[in-house]
């Protein structure tokens, strides 16, 4: 059993990124959440205006100059930008976003304007400074994998199957990055839209969040980030844009990002995504019991 328990721990560590197979693994492959992997037609057609990171600088001299600033308009009608008021999972691969008012058509909105994070806040009760860490959900979105031809979990050769059979060779591995792949209106509800995810949210992720629910010092949530700007952004019917929400994470290439200050301070509005989708009897990872002491 020793070999199997250790094997599971190793595979879990590899899946979480704590261990790598080769010393330089991934060093030159580039991230999977760059602007090249989920481009939509819109992004290709007009990459400069649909880039969440903003227009290029300096501006292209071959393009006509923008018109001069118009004179100050008359006092605008009383209006306020649309605001995001809720995010929930419709199913494991679909997010529903609800707003305060109907939105303009969203077909041209680039899904890369959205990015999920596992936001973990430390409230500072231990004497440290409050801080927030954003983590790419891939490290918690683990699915169980059972090898169809498990190797004999024996340390010696040749294996004595009658003695070394420890059960199926199953462990948890990452699904890879969870990227938004589509933005579409929600039928029958003009104040909502749906975002399709490239891979489904796994119960393992929700179970991980649940494990922190009773911790008074830490809070861990699944959260959506959004970067406004450019032409094809989210707008209401009057052309007012939905403001950005934690957009630094959208523009950031890395998978871990920490900042000091009040918990979740860049997430305004703070809208944790409930993981009640997997409200099923717990069948979480089969983590072996490890004695508290060496013996």
């Amino acid at each position: 059993m020793l070999g199997l328990r250790f094997s599971r721990l190793v595979h879990a560590a590899i899946a979480s990124g704590a261990l790598v197979l080769g010393a330089c693994q991934g060093g030159g492959k580039g991230g999977t959440d760059t602007d090249t992997d989920t481009d939509t037609g819109t992004a290709t057609d007009n990459p400069t205006t649909d880039d969440p990171t903003g227009p290029p600088f300096p501006p292209d001299p071959t393009l006509p100059l923008p018109p001069p600033d118009p004179p100050p308009p008359d006092p605008p009608p009383v209006d306020v930008p649309p605001a995001l008021i809720g995010v929930k999972l419709l199913d494991a691969s679909t997010l529903q976003l609800s707003f305060t008012e109907p939105l303009a058509p969203v077909e041209t909105v680039n899904p890369k304007r959205f990015r999920l994070s596992i936001a973990q806040a430390y409230y500072g009760q231990y004497g440290g400074q409050p801080s927030t860490t954003l983590i790419d959900p891939r490290y918690y979105n683990l699915e169980q994998y059972c090898s169809p031809n498990p190797p004999p979990p024996c340390y010696y050769e040749p294996p004595y199957d009658y003695y070394c059979y420890y059960g199926p060779s199953c462990y948890y591995q990452s699904t890879g990055p969870i990227v938004a792949t589509s933005v579409a209106p929600l039928d029958g509800d003009p104040t909502s839209l749906v975002i399709g995810l490239g891979v489904p949210i796994q119960p393992f992720l929700c179970n991980t969040l649940e494990a922190f629910e009773d911790n008074p010092n830490l809070r861990m949530v699944l959260h959506l980030h959004y970067a406004a700007g450019g032409l094809s952004e989210l707008q209401d019917l009057g052309g007012l844009a939905v403001p950005s929400l934690g957009d630094v994470w959208v523009k950031y290439d890395g998978n871990f990002y920490s900042y000091q200050g009040a918990a979740f301070s860049t997430l305004d509005p703070f809208l944790p995504i409930p993981c009640q989708l997997f409200d099923v009897p717990d069948d979480g990872p089969d983590i072996p019991d490890i004695p508290e002491s060496d013996l």
Partner: protein
């Protein structure tokens, strides 16, 4: 010698390779860099011993010695361009010290070294094959 421990061996490329490399722990315990780590205090009882035979022991010295041995093995892995050895050393170190450290009786290398110490009292037991068999019976 286990193929993963050969000079020039590639690092594991997939989950199956990882399984193969992890099976090399008993042979790794016989590398000269780890010879000083084998505890010298005798263990009485039949072969192979179970974890209960080591109850009540302080393993901190063993853990520290194993860490030094793994550091020396890391140098060997780099010198010999052994990707399998490098991965195994990295993995065993990850679970030896730090937040992911396992109890001594759950750490394969420490178990192998403890078994080697017990094997000295039994004729023909201090071999990689016998240590591997004993690890499978460790529970």
């Amino acid at each position: 010698m286990h193929p993963a421990l050969h000079p020039g061996s590639p690092p594991p490329a997939d989950d199956e390779d990882v399984e193969v490399v992890l099976r090399a722990v008993p042979e790794l315990a016989f590398f000269p860099e780890l010879a000083p780590c084998v505890p010298t205090d005798a263990v009485t009882g039949p072969w192979p011993p179970t974890r209960e035979a080591f109850a009540g022991r302080d393993f901190e010295a063993l853990r520290a010695a194993a860490l030094r041995g793994l550091e020396a093995l890391a140098d060997r892995a780099e010198r010999e361009r052994s990707g399998g050895t490098a991965f195994l050393v990295r993995t065993l170190t990850y679970f030896l010290v730090g937040p992911a450290a396992l109890p001594a009786v759950e750490h394969p290398l420490l178990v192998a070294l403890l078994l080697r110490s017990a094997a000295r009292a039994h004729e023909g037991a201090d071999t990689a094959l016998e240590i591997a068999r004993a690890m499978d019976r460790w529970g």
